[in-house]
C-alpha cells in the first residue's frame, strides 16, 4: 500500500516536473507570460499568506504591502538611481524583511480580527505612502521602465528564461517554507497557533516566534514582489492597492489555506478566471466572487480540498471533508 502510493506520488511528481520544464517550449508566449509567470509570482505571494495563516494562525493583509515594498525598492534603485538589478535585489529583500519585522513588532501581540485590522492598516498606509512620497515612488504614476537584468548572459526579457527563473524561485520558496514547517521551530509555531497560552506556560516566547515567522513570510513575499515588478515592468500605487491585497487573500482561500501547493492552484485558477471569464461575461468579478463564496461554503480546503474530498470518498478512506485551518490564535 505504502509503496504503491509512493510510486504514484513519484510518478505524479515526474509528470509535473516534466510538464513545467516543457511548458515554455510548447506554449505560446501569452500562456508562458500572462498565465504561467503571473501564476508563479502570485503564488509566491499567496504562499507567504498560507504559511502565516495555516501554520502560525496569523491572517495577514500586509503581504501585498510587503511584496510591494520590495518591488518599489527594486524599481527605485534600478530606474531612478541606475543601480545594477542584481545589486538592488538583496537591498529590496532586506528592506521588505525589515518592514515585516516592524509590522510584526506592532501587531504580533494581537490576534484574530485585531491582527487583521492592524495588518490592513499597514496595507493602506503603504498605499498612501506610495501615492504621496514622490521623491521615492514618483507618486500616482509610479515608476516606469523597470528592466529585469541579465542572468549569466541570458536576457530575462525572454519569456522562457524568465519562466525558469520564476519557477526556480517558486520551488525554492516552497521548499524553504516546507523546511521551516517541518523543523522544530515549525512545530513550535503550530503550538503557538493551537494554544498560545499553553506555549507561553511551557516557557516559549510566543511573540518572538510570531515575529520571526512573520519576517520569514515577508522574505517569501518579497521574492514574489521582485518577480512581479520585473514582470509588470513598472510599479504604481495601483499595484498594491486594496483590490490587490484582497486578490492575494482570495487566491489563498480558493487554493486552500491548509496546503502550501494550494497557493499556486489558487493563483492559476484566479489568473485563468481573470483572463478568460471576460470572454463570456462582462461581470467576471461577480463570477470570481461567486466561486469564492462557493468554495467557502462547500470546501473550506479550497480547490485542493475539493479534489482530496472526492479522492478520499472514491478510495473509501477516512479522509473525508478536510477541516478548515485554525486561523485565529486560540485565546490570548
Amino acid at each position: 500500500m505504502t509503496t504503491r502510493l509512493g510510486n504514484r506520488r513519484t510518478l505524479g511528481l515526474v509528470v509535473l516536473v516534466a510538464f513545467l520544464i516543457a511548458f515554455p517550449f510548447f506554449a505560446s508566449s501569452f500562456w508562458v507570460v500572462s498565465i504561467g509567470i503571473k501564476t508563479l509570482w502570485l503564488g509566491i505571494a499567496a504562499l507567504s499568506l498560507i504559511f502565516l495563516a495555516g501554520t502560525v494562525g496569523m491572517v495577514s493583509l500586509a503581504q501585498t504591502a510587503i511584496y510591494g515594498s520590495a518591488g518599489y525598492v527594486v524599481a527605485h534603485l534600478t530606474v531612478m538611481q541606475g543601480w545594477n538589478g542584481w545589486l538592488a535585489v538583496p537591498v529590496a529583500l532586506a528592506v521588505a524583511v525589515t518592514l515585516a519585522i516592524f509590522v510584526a513588532l506592532i501587531s504580533a501581540r494581537s490576534s484574530g480580527i485585531y491582527f487583521l485590522m492592524l495588518t490592513l492598516a499597514v496595507a493602506v498606509f503603504l498605499y498612501f505612502f506610495a501615492l504621496q512620497y514622490r521623491p521615492f515612488t514618483q507618486g500616482f504614476s509610479g515608476i516606469n521602465g523597470v528592466h529585469a537584468p541579465d542572468l549569466f548572459g541570458l536576457s530575462l526579457r525572454d519569456p522562457t528564461t524568465f519562466w525558469f527563473l520564476a519557477l526556480a524561485v517558486a520551488l525554492a520558496a516552497y521548499l524553504a517554507v516546507r523546511g521551516v514547517i517541518a523543523s522544530p521551530f515549525g512545530l513550535t509555531l503550530k503550538g503557538v497557533r493551537d494554544s498560545a497560552p499553553r506555549m507561553a506556560a511551557l516557557g516559549y516566547n510566543v511573540t518572538a516566534h510570531r515575529v520571526v515567522a512573520f519576517a520569514f513570510a515577508g522574505l517569501v513575499a518579497a521574492c514574489g514582489g521582485v518577480l512581479a515588478v520585473w514582470y509588470n515592468g513598472q510599479i504604481a500605487p495601483g499595484s498594491i492597492d486594496l483590490t490587490r491585497t484582497i486578490d492575494v487573500l482570495v487566491i489563498a482561500v480558493i487554493g486552500g489555506l491548509y496546503r502550501l501547493e494550494g497557493a499556486w492552484v489558487g493563483a492559476l485558477a484566479v489568473t485563468l478566471l481573470t483572463n478568460f471569464a471576460n470572454d463570456y461575461t462582462a461581470r467576471f468579478n461577480t463570477v470570481i466572487g461567486l466561486i469564492f463564496i462557493g468554495i467557502l461554503l462547500l470546501s473550506p480546503g479550497g480547490i485542493a480540498g475539493i479534489w482530496e474530498n472526492a479522492a478520499g470518498r472514491i478510495r473509501g478512506g477516512r479522509s473525508g471533508r478536510p477541516q478548515p485551518p485554525v486561523i485565529e490564535g486560540a485565546g490570548r
Partner: protein, 450 residues
C-alpha cells in the same frame, strides 16, 4: 489535520493530481508556437510574441478602455465613441453593451474583427489586458487606453512590440508622446497640457490677472493641466506664488486654503466634479472673499454650476471638446444618439475614442488594409493623415502627437458657453520644442514662476 504538511503520503498525491489536472487544462488551451520574442531594447517588463500578420482577409483591432472600477462609466462612453467610427464604416452592432462586438466593417477590402478588452484604470491591469490583445488575440492594432498613467505603461509596452500599431484612446499624459516616444504609438487627441491652451494668455491679457494661486489634485493629470496653464500664464508675465496639491477625494480643504496667499488675483482650480464644489464653498466661507476662479478641463461642469449658481458666473475654463456648429459635429452627435439612445451628449471620452478609431480606420483605408511586416504603409498613412473631426481639424507632429484646436469657455447665464477657439495647438504650446522638452517634466514643483 489542519496543517500544511501533515497527513502522510495521501495528500501530496491528490494535490499533485489536482495541479496536474489544472496544468493539463492549461496545456490543452495553450496551443501556439514559441517563436523568438520580438522584444526591443526599451520599455520594461518581459517580451512576448505578437501578431502573425498579413495574408488573411481580416484585420483584428483591439479596443482597450476602462470598464471596471471608478472610471467604468467613462469606459462605456469611450466604447460607444469608438463604435460610432466603426459604424460609419459599414458596421452593424451585435449588441448595445460596452463589450459587444461589431460586424461587417470593411476597410481596404478586408473585414475588421473587433476584440474588446478592459482595465480598471491601473497601469498593471492595462498592460495585462494589452498583452491579451496582442499576444493571445493577435490583434494587428490597438486603440486605447483611457487614462494617463495607463498610456505611459502602454507606450512602454508598445516599444517591445514594434509589429503592432497602437493608437491612443483618451489618455492625455504629456510624456506618452512628448519625451521618449514609441515609434508605433499614435495619438490623434491632445494632451492634458494642450487642453489648457489659451487660458493662461486670456487670464493675463484679457482679465489682467498678475498673480494666480493654483489648486490641483495630487496626480499626473492635474500636474499637466497646471503646467499647461503656467506655461502660458508665466510666459505672458504672470506669477504663481503658490501651487497647492490636495490628495484625491479630500473633503476638508481648510489647511490647504490657509496656504493660499491673500493678495492673489484669482485661484486656478484643477479639481474634478464635487471636489471643486466643496473647495469653492469652503474657500468662500474661510476667506470671506469671492475671488475669481479659473477652471481646468474637468472642473466646470453642470453639477458645479448648479451647486454654486452665481458664484461661478463668468468663470473661464479651457478644454478640447466643445459643442460646435459644424456639419461634422452635428453628424457625430446625431449618430451617437441614434445608435446609443442611452448615451449623454458628446463628451471628452467618446469623442477622443471616436477620433482615434476613425483616424486608424482612415489610415487602414489609405494603406489598402496592408498590415504586413512592420505596418510601414499603415504608419506612413497615419503620420500624414489630416482630417476634420467633430471638434475641429487634426494632424500629427513628428512625435505622432495631435495638433488640434482647443476651446475657451465662460460661464454665462448659468451655462458654460464657448468663448473662443485656439487653433492648431501643438504639444509645446507654441514654445520652442527643444527648450520645452529640456525643461523638467511637469510635477508638483515644475514649472515654477513665483
Amino acid at each position: 489535520m489542519g496543517n500544511p504538511t501533515g497527513g502522510g503520503a495521501r495528500r501530496p498525491v491528490s494535490v499533485l493530481l489536482a495541479m496536474l489536472a489544472l496544468a493539463a487544462a492549461m496545456a490543452l488551451a495553450a496551443c501556439g508556437s514559441s517563436d523568438d520574442s520580438g522584444s526591443g531594447d526599451e520599455g520594461g517588463g518581459i517580451g512576448g510574441d505578437s501578431a502573425e500578420q498579413g495574408g488573411s482577409g481580416t484585420i483584428k483591432l483591439g479596443l482597450l478602455s476602462t470598464l471596471e472600477g471608478p472610471f467604468a462609466p467613462f469606459g462605456e462612453a469611450a466604447n460607444q465613441g469608438a463604435k460610432v467610427a466603426l459604424l460609419e464604416h459599414g458596421g452593424k452592432l451585435e449588441g448595445t453593451g460596452p463589450r459587444d462586438g461589431i460586424s461587417g466593417v470593411k476597410v481596404g477590402g478586408k473585414t475588421i474583427e473587433l476584440v474588446v478588452e478592459s482595465s480598471d484604470a491601473t497601469p498593471d491591469v492595462a498592460v495585462d489586458a494589452t498583452r491579451r490583445l496582442v499576444e493571445q488575440s493577435k490583434v494587428d492594432a490597438v486603440v486605447g487606453p483611457l487614462s494617463g498613467d495607463e498610456g505611459i505603461a502602454i507606450k512602454n509596452y508598445a516599444k517591445q512590440h514594434t509589429d503592432v500599431t497602437f493608437v491612443n484612446g483618451s489618455s492625455g499624459a504629456q510624456n506618452t508622446t512628448l519625451r521618449d516616444p514609441a515609434p508605433n504609438f499614435f495619438r490623434f487627441s491632445t494632451d492634458g497640457a494642450q487642453w489648457m491652451a489659451g487660458l493662461g494668455k486670456y487670464a493675463s491679457e484679457e482679465l489682467g490677472y498678475k498673480t494666480v494661486a493654483t489648486v490641483g489634485e495630487d496626480y499626473s493629470f492635474p500636474y499637466d493641466q497646471v503646467g499647461g496653464f503656467m506655461t502660458e500664464f508665466c510666459g505672458a508675465g504672470g506669477k504663481v506664488p503658490r501651487k497647492i496639491w490636495v490628495p484625491l477625494g479630500t473633503k476638508d480643504y481648510a489647511s490647504f486654503i490657509a496656504q493660499i496667499p491673500k493678495d492673489v488675483d484669482a485661484v486656478y482650480v484643477a479639481l474634478g466634479g464635487t471636489d471643486a464644489l466643496n473647495f469653492t464653498k469652503q474657500f468662500d466661507e474661510f476667506t470671506g472673499r469671492k475671488l475669481p476662479l479659473l477652471g481646468g478641463s474637468i472642473t466646470v461642469d453642470g453639477a458645479i454650476i448648479k451647486g454654486l449658481g452665481d458664484r461661478v458666473e463668468g468663470t473661464v475654463s479651457a478644454g478640447p471638446v466643445a459643442v460646435l456648429d459644424t456639419p461634422e459635429y452635428k453628424e457625430y452627435a446625431g449618430a451617437l444618439k441614434k445608435h446609443f439612445p442611452e448615451s449623454g451628449p458628446p463628451g471628452l471620452f467618446d469623442l477622443s475614442y471616436y477620433v482615434n478609431m476613425k483616424s486608424l480606420l482612415q489610415g487602414l483605408d489609405k494603406a489598402g488594409g496592408n498590415v504586413s511586416g512592420d505596418d510601414a504603409k499603415l504608419r506612413e498613412a497615419l503620420s500624414s493623415l489630416s482630417w476634420t473631426t467633430p471638434i475641429g481639424p487634426v494632424k500629427l507632429d513628428e512625435n505622432r502627437q495631435a495638433i488640434a484646436n482647443n476651446y475657451l469657455f465662460k460661464v454665462t447665464n448659468g451655462e458654460s458657453r464657448l468663448l473662443d477657439t485656439v487653433e492648431n495647438v501643438n504639444q509645446t504650446l507654441g514654445v520652442d520644442r527643444e527648450k520645452y522638452v529640456s525643461q523638467p517634466s511637469f510635477d508638483r514643483k515644475n514649472p515654477s514662476c513665483s
